[in-house]
Symmetry: D2
Amino acid sequence: MIKVAIVGGTGYTGVELLRLLTAHPQVELTAITSRALAGTPVAELFPSLRGHCDLAFCEPDPEQLGACDLVFFATPHGVAQAQVPALIERGVRVIDLSADFRLQDIPTWEQWYGQQHAAPELAQQAVYGLPEVNRADIAGAQLLACPGCYPTAIQLGWIPLLEAGLVDPEQLIASAASGASGAGRQGKTELLLAENSDNFRAYAASGHRHLPEIEQGLRRVQPDGSRAPRVTFVPHLLPMVRGIHATLFAKLQSSESTQELQQLFESRYRDEAFVDVLPVGSHPQTRSVRGTNMCRISVMQPQGRDTVLVLSVIDNLAKGASAQAVQSMNIMFGLNETLGLESPALLP
Amino acid sequence: MIKVAIVGGTGYTGVELLRLLTAHPQVELTAITSRALAGTPVAELFPSLRGHCDLAFCEPDPEQLGACDLVFFATPHGVAQAQVPALIERGVRVIDLSADFRLQDIPTWEQWYGQQHAAPELAQQAVYGLPEVNRADIAGAQLLACPGCYPTAIQLGWIPLLEAGLVDPEQLIASAASGASGAGRQGKTELLLAENSDNFRAYAASGHRHLPEIEQGLRRVQPDGSRAPRVTFVPHLLPMVRGIHATLFAKLQSSESTQELQQLFESRYRDEAFVDVLPVGSHPQTRSVRGTNMCRISVMQPQGRDTVLVLSVIDNLAKGASAQAVQSMNIMFGLNETLGLESPALLP
Amino acid sequence: MIKVAIVGGTGYTGVELLRLLTAHPQVELTAITSRALAGTPVAELFPSLRGHCDLAFCEPDPEQLGACDLVFFATPHGVAQAQVPALIERGVRVIDLSADFRLQDIPTWEQWYGQQHAAPELAQQAVYGLPEVNRADIAGAQLLACPGCYPTAIQLGWIPLLEAGLVDPEQLIASAASGASGAGRQGKTELLLAENSDNFRAYAASGHRHLPEIEQGLRRVQPDGSRAPRVTFVPHLLPMVRGIHATLFAKLQSSESTQELQQLFESRYRDEAFVDVLPVGSHPQTRSVRGTNMCRISVMQPQGRDTVLVLSVIDNLAKGASAQAVQSMNIMFGLNETLGLESPALLP
Amino acid sequence: MIKVAIVGGTGYTGVELLRLLTAHPQVELTAITSRALAGTPVAELFPSLRGHCDLAFCEPDPEQLGACDLVFFATPHGVAQAQVPALIERGVRVIDLSADFRLQDIPTWEQWYGQQHAAPELAQQAVYGLPEVNRADIAGAQLLACPGCYPTAIQLGWIPLLEAGLVDPEQLIASAASGASGAGRQGKTELLLAENSDNFRAYAASGHRHLPEIEQGLRRVQPDGSRAPRVTFVPHLLPMVRGIHATLFAKLQSSESTQELQQLFESRYRDEAFVDVLPVGSHPQTRSVRGTNMCRISVMQPQGRDTVLVLSVIDNLAKGASAQAVQSMNIMFGLNETLGLESPALLP
């Protein structure tokens, strides 16, 4: 059994981790911290966990965390970089669901997050936790940076095309939309049901923090990596709870048929348990992955022109955060990669 | 392994059964029938099942069904009563999720469903599948009638009060609301998203088919059973997918304190894995049971007056249909009652 | 033209007032106050008003307010009672949309709102603004207390029965549900879309502040008024923006036929522009009154038993708040009661 | 008063026309036809119109329609082209909300709609009813083809850029999303609330019928019109009722600053009552135009790169259909263009 603790469990990635870890056959959950709610039973905050989790939130205790095999951080950015170094020193492995260790270029991180990075050297060591790209590195990682939700959906959608050098990396366009759980559990007027139900809007269109992560990830998968990808990325807020849908446009550099594109995607993801390439002509639906670690993808070539369209859906809290973290945990600890992640989506 | 078939799997109770049975460790799913879609892969209709179910819908074949240990009917009313007798004769056990065998009084059934009952003698043998009331009978059932969604939420809410004789059975009021999946997967204008989103309405307030089932069930649990319960039952349609919320009012016949009521409920359901009595002062939320077989219940006494209020929530497709059917299957086949039904709710 | 100001215009009743008053042919809107947003253009906060309202929020200025014919208060409770006395003294008429002057019994008010009332004598003078009950008093009111949303839907549903003495006033049961806009525009976790979409729950079931207002109103309309009504009132939160649906149960004291009940309602509301009694067998939908001052009502007698069921719907921000305030304004200033309130509902 | 009839009033564009026309001060509504519902009062189908419309649906009667000044067609494609010629001959003016007369190239129409066009010569005479582009022609039109919903939002978003020749017309990308009312009122499984709530998906991504209309419209506004625009257009279905949001990407051919782009848009639409260019940095919300004839637009240049991003929102049933039809009617009959279209949006 892996001894596990969660730092910062009162948000949506926290409760999703709890849902998955309490049911995981190889995990012993020993602590879940929250300064604000220390002493409150977890199941009081999240009644869905009544009968599944007997823990109460507790103050973070270095001794307790240090005695774990693995600590998840489900905290706002800035927290993990302050607390992780001490854990790493003690030999504890860490999976950080926040943005703290996703970017390797520290000035870029500091520019987008508006603060100094507290552990720049660790950022260099951190392994980016997208198993479909760097499974081997994940296996040996001590510090794992779990990808953002948009970056997961978008990278998985474009990776086959960029690896094969089929599209112009400087003309990438991503129009993506997320359910409101992606914006977190904090009480903000702009996230109220009364503000967002029967409503749709873009946000942060002039620059979203996931942009540099997307461009970093796409750069790595190119055959030579010399051309810096340029992505126009527009996120939107959907009047629903869970799900990310990425609508991805790229310019073909050579003439490929729809069949060839389909085969490229199918062959790229043949051995991936959590990426499902849909048949030609399908449109993936976010509900088809609700609550699961799946990414479902369609590729098409509208009107037979030179723009290749990829549609990619994930659950923002699952493959976009907590379930992908569990997938990486499975890899890090030599377990079957799908352990605890086998349930089909809840549909309808 | 239990050899199982599903008759009529293209509706929402069908896909929910598939979600649960494909993940059930003791079930071998051998066939799922649909005349209209025979030949179509199940996962084409329900993309959430891609990778989980390789079956295609097939024509119902008496030989194939007859070779099963258990056949589920997830069909509109009228279908099971025509096909079940032949299966029963062959010794196959049957769980019917439709209304065909829920009422033991045949004239009542015929009045509410507007047609002649095709197997009235079987209706007498059928066991009503509410494990919290008649677990022992379920264990030995050959034909099990799975309760309706509203009747499950409502009976579980009132059973402790009626068993204890604390309330007037002739003054029962149930105001209940269901997510739209309760109305089925048929294309009807009145069920469109454009008709129901940002909208709320009652329906069938002058008489819903679940009323006689509710009254029949409540009659049985009374200490003497002599007084026929009279329920005013008003169902409503919620602008959401899953969940039933029952708001139940009854008149106390003696003076009980809130504490005594709370203790009554806690003690009644202490050994039930799927009924959760919330702490005093709580309000159950439908999402806290989403996708699960749980019923969560609160009991209170507003203003300390003589009306006792019970709030009861279930997932209409799970405890209100398919998961409850699996619970009964577990009992019928001597398995652990919670097998395959352990996952926490998807929240948010 | 009536010179009008609004105190506290940043909430939902505020923006709804602005929507109605900017289009009202007899109103000159001179000021809208907000300490927090003073200086911010109204249309910046509410882009729906771009091109319709050129005002900016301003600090409340006693001189400016004192020069108005009418001041609306769209503030949290406690604010109006502090500021209204000075305006009344200057001869300004006031319509208060908050709860400050709805209850005439001050100890009751203080008990439910947990604070001392700052203007108890004014509470006695205040006219309760339900035109269908006390239109004549409204015409001469200097201080008008606009009813709450639930109390409006519930009183209009029961008034015909209580006026006629047909039902037992001590056995009234109201199960009601509101869209999330009823809970206001403040950023609270429990009002997030991610917490409430695809979810339904009761709240404040052991006692909601609208209860004493409902019981006060129902007492007044009884033929003798001697029996204090006792209402069990359970509010619920709907996963939608606008609309209140009240499901009302009462016990008939004599035997009335459905036809007689229908006629009673039709005759009671024949001359009311904003109460619409639906044909026998109908179920009102909240969307059928969206954005309007209408209340639509159905009355029925399920199973021909002795419980009379009334279904009543309003738009919580319109007939439940701002549009009803405008209706009262029209009466107070001798205008046609429907002026500025004629638009049909937005459906779908 | 303009004598008006509506052919085919049982769909959403029909009820929206009724909402607007019953409140229009210069319109006398004389008939609304529906073969299927002939005899049924309009207000029975659409309870929002109780008290606003006393008409019943009637069989289409050539004499009655022929006696009108104006007939609206709110029918599926194929109907208007069969019935319009007779009306035109009698001198009746016609506004067709269907797709029948939107495309001037008949082979293109026949290819996309899969049937022979019944009145190709009329298609040549028909005026395309986008007032912001061809107001003068609309004034004199006898037969007006009302634009589609997506084409309205998309053309208004791109027109300033194409007129000014600033972007490459062959690299246009439109990712757009519509509320479910855009798909009509027919009972189809794929439009159920239970299928679409908490779900998001693209559809018809390989080719939607609005594509040729968009490309036709964009071709016309170019300075020389010689380069055929090529648009990649991906529509999506939103879990909400009303609203279209278009996210538009184009490649700048010269270097413009954000300020210059903003000025271009503001100057282009300065005199348009129904196009609102938002301040720099804003993101339009669909709810800000709900129920209105407004189009709200933002323009930006993410990361200062060479892709110009335009966000454009309309109400698909209003500016995307019925309200735009009324706007054209106002122009055709010499009325103030905004008559009957002045109400602010319903927000929240």
